[in-house]
């Protein structure tokens, strides 16, 4: 680090600050960013749960019933509650940021961001409804 460098005439002695491991606690928006990134852990968690569910499904009705019973445990309920919040956070940030990455031009004019974000939400709604219908209809 620079503190043990001695100044000599005409040679720069720059001070380099080291970025702290905890940089993301220094600013609200940084913390938000890290939270956003950490949603991926919850996404992965639910993917694993789904894999487990699929496995149980294959093992037969008993195994599946057992699986469903496990989901009722307070531990899982709590975990899923938290996971749900993070997954929602993921969806919202994802949809809101998509327009920055995806530029659509219609007749030479850029489609405004809110239209693209709006489309995302629309697709979200339709997809969710479709899934719910498939799972709930009988």
């Amino acid at each position: 680090m620079s503190s043990d460098v001695h100044y000599t005439l005409h040679h720069p002695k720059w001070y380099r600050r080291r970025v702290s491991v905890w940089w993301w606690l220094q600013k609200r928006s940084y913390a938000q960013f890290v939270l956003r990134e950490l949603t991926s852990v919850f996404v992965a968690f639910f993917a694993v749960v789904s894999l487990w569910q699929l496995h149980a499904l294959g093992e037969g009705p008993e195994a599946y019933a057992h699986f469903m019973a496990r989901l009722k445990s307070p531990l899982f309920l709590a975990l899923h509650g938290v996971t749900f919040l993070f997954v929602l956070f993921h969806s919202i940030t994802w949809f809101n940021l998509a327009p920055t990455a995806i530029v659509v031009r219609l007749r030479g004019k850029r489609v405004p961001d809110f239209v693209i974000a709006g489309m995302n939400y629309l697709v979200w709604l339709v997809a969710s409804a479709a899934v719910a219908w498939l799972l709930l209809r009988g």
Partner: protein, 116 residues
């Protein structure tokens, strides 16, 4: 080919992120909260099995589980790099993250293959 594996991994990350954003909330809400808490009636084992018999449903499940795992792998990798300043452990982190996602994907394939 430019950019080594990065564009590929990033595409998986994005695709996974989109799948998770679109589909996870509803699945999670139903399976993780609404059914266990009895707000809604869970579908029976039988009806589910009927549903997943269709090849399209299997494809759907494959996409639903595997891609978000890659989404996680990518994001988590960088979170470890940056959030915990662990870049010096990069090789290990890469193996754990993408390895995990690959393993998960293999298991999905195996499970789907063996479904009746």
């Amino acid at each position: 080919m430019t950019g080594g594996k990065s564009p590929f991994l990033w595409t998986l990350f994005s695709a996974g992120g989109t799948v998770a954003a679109l589909l996870f909330p509803i699945h999670l809400f139903l399976t993780g909260l609404a059914f266990p808490l009895g707000w809604l009636d869970a579908p029976s084992h039988e009806s589910l099995q009927d549903l997943v018999r269709h090849p399209l449903a299997r494809l759907y499940l494959f996409v639903l589980i595997s891609l978000p795992l890659f989404h996680w792998a990518h994001r988590f990798r960088y979170t470890l790099y940056d959030g915990l300043s662990l870049k010096h452990l990069a090789p290990l982190i890469v193996v754990v993250c993408y390895g995990g996602a690959l393993l998960g994907t293999a298991m999905v394939v195996y499970t789907l293959w063996n479904l009746p």
